[in-house]
Symmetry: C2
Subunit: 113 residues, 2 copies
């Protein structure tokens, strides 16, 4: 599997890991767009959000709650943050392994890109 996020999940490529369990891994984005910019990925290789199956629902729900936990630990609970999933070219997806961006520490503008 030649997927950089699979390799991060497997510990084969180093990253600034903030959370790791059997289903989900969180680490800092290498090109942060906000004072806090984290990525949360499922350890399972899912190319895009369009590839989600019903069996993934529980982990996706947990992924959002992990974002909450990380936001709290990063001090973002009071002021808030933005969550983003990019899908394919128009979405701006660069790595084809589903990932949730968590951005905070500054006011995020509108439109969202």
């Amino acid at each position: 599997m030649d997927c950089i996020f699979c390799k991060i999940a497997a510990g084969e490529i180093s990253a600034d890991i903030l959370h790791r369990d059997a289903d989900l891994v969180a680490f800092r984005d290498l090109r942060p767009q906000a004072p806090v910019h984290l990525l949360i990925i499922p350890t399972k290789h899912i190319e895009t959000v369009l590839d989600l199956q019903p069996g993934d629902d529980a982990v996706m729900g947990r992924m959002l709650r992990l974002a909450d936990d990380l936001a709290r630990s990063q001090g973002l609970e009071e002021k808030g943050f933005r969550l983003v999933i990019n899908c394919k070219a128009h979405g701006g997806q660069e790595v084809y392994h589903l990932h949730l961006h968590l951005l905070g520490g500054r006011p995020m503008h509108w439109p969202p890109g």
Copy 2:
């Protein structure tokens, strides 16, 4: 309950509804930021993504797959799209009823706001 999204979910305020079931409702954003700009909400009143509970996981997973279905029906499957959840002031959340933005029909830029 004085929540505009609860009233849309209940049919008390009109909206351009694209999907409705017991758990989720989708409708067009009144101030679209892209050629396709939809909102998907849980019918249950959840103020922010920080208020999610483990019992919400399955519906949140299904919310992402409903976004997929809507993206396909709107012709966004090939080129892609962006999903956004705003949380509180820094996120740009305006209505305090959890909602997922689906934006597509144009290339979305980076950073996401």
